[in-house]
Symmetry: C2
Subunit: 209 residues, 2 copies
DNA sequence: CAAATATACGCACGATCGTCTATATTGTTC
DNA sequence: GAACAATATAGACGATCGTGCGTATATTTG
């Protein structure tokens, strides 16, 4: 074993399949062909192992989704790039069991404790990246002024999480392409260069004959 | 203990918090103030308990989300009603740990076996309900003919799953209202009585000056 | 009433869990 | 070369896991 980094490389994969709670020191040691107490000693407790694994997964997400988009200008271009790289990342199978953070945030959402708090913090950070780019796009005049950043970030995030879900549970990668198209459509729809929103069917109905 | 039904009432709650795998016969027995072997004997194996718990959760979902919408006409009205009742159901805290099936499908998506297959079957069923109502709405002329049912079902489902995620992990019920509004907007946007789709910003840009 | 079935209990099994202690092997630094 | 921190090992602990077996009660069925 080359210390923590090598262990975390495996633990991230194992946890993406079995969950952060399903991650086990014994099984991790067996897979690394190392004694259980060696792995334990490196982290001191299971909770520390979970936190370190989460941090490693966050780094991978940043590396694969955020970093490639940093070459694009902040605001709408970067928002568009994040959508593309997020979908690419789903297809790339960086994690054996699908997006680590999607799984972890669903798994831990009911159990109090430091691990859950750390997962929530990472996800707030992620939503924050989306929101701040939406706000930047509005400030730059690329997105219309009536956009609600939190609501739009919610919709964009929903697309990716559902894409990962459909790919992993149903073994259907069509969801990723649905997400890609819907992400683009969402940005287009609220683009400042797009015509103003047409009256909705609901509003038309209210107008009467 | 009043037999299986009483056990399942609790196991569904426990599994919604701790996951289907985190569900434990011993802890379940303790909470029911009953001996471990009593619970075990009722189901014969943990796997059977998991499958029975899943079936119970499916029944609850049908009861709270599908059934209320059955009073609306199949197609667009029912699709709209499902969205409302789904959001109501998120707010109602029927499950202590949030939507059982959202959590279970993220948790089990990496582990092969009968339980995972059963979860996938329930979710396929759910997506099928959305799709078939979309198709019915198209056939009735309520939704436009260029709608892709699978893609639209994906987008609608994504909204609900993200709403549950935001509520449970971030303790923020704003996501539910975002989902409610986005669900309505999605239906309006593709309604046949709505004006045809305006050119997108992307397409406008391509036209040049 | 007798037979049968469902529900419950108590106890014990092997396995695995997280954790701990004591010790050996490194590689680095003074 | 000595001192030291990091990394590894072996072995054991109490707890809990899923799973069995034998048995007692309670309800239903014949």
């Amino acid at each position: 074993m080359r210390s923590r980094a090598a262990v975390l490389e495996r633990s991230v994969q194992m946890a993406s399949r079995d969950g952060l709670e399903g991650l086990t020191i014994g099984a991790l040691a067996t897979e690394l062909e190392v004694h259980k107490s060696s792995v334990f000693a490196l982290f001191g407790s299971k909770e520390e192992l979970q936190l370190a694994t989460l941090a490693a997964a966050r780094a991978i997400l940043i590396d694969h989704v955020i970093a490639p988009a940093l070459t694009s200008r902040e605001g709408l271009p970067r928002l568009s790039a994040i959508g593309e790289s997020w979908c690419d990342y789903f297809l790339s199978d960086v994690f054996a069991g699908g997006c680590f953070l999607c799984a972890a945030s669903m798994e831990m959402d009911g159990r109090p404790g430091p691990v859950r708090d750390a997962v929530a913090a990472v996800m707030r950070e992620w939503i924050g990246v989306l929101s701040s780019n939406i706000e930047a796009a509005m400030a730059a005049g690329d997105l219309r002024g009536d956009v609600l950043p939190a609501a739009m970030a919610f919709r964009l995030n929903a697309l990716g999480m559902a894409a990962n879900w459909q790919r992993q549970l149903l073994h259907d990668r069509a969801g990723i392409e649905h997400a890609r198209l819907a992400w683009r459509a969402e940005l287009d729809r609220h683009s400042a260069t797009s015509p103003p929103r047409t009256r909705t069917a609901r509003e038309v109905a209210k107008l009467g004959p």
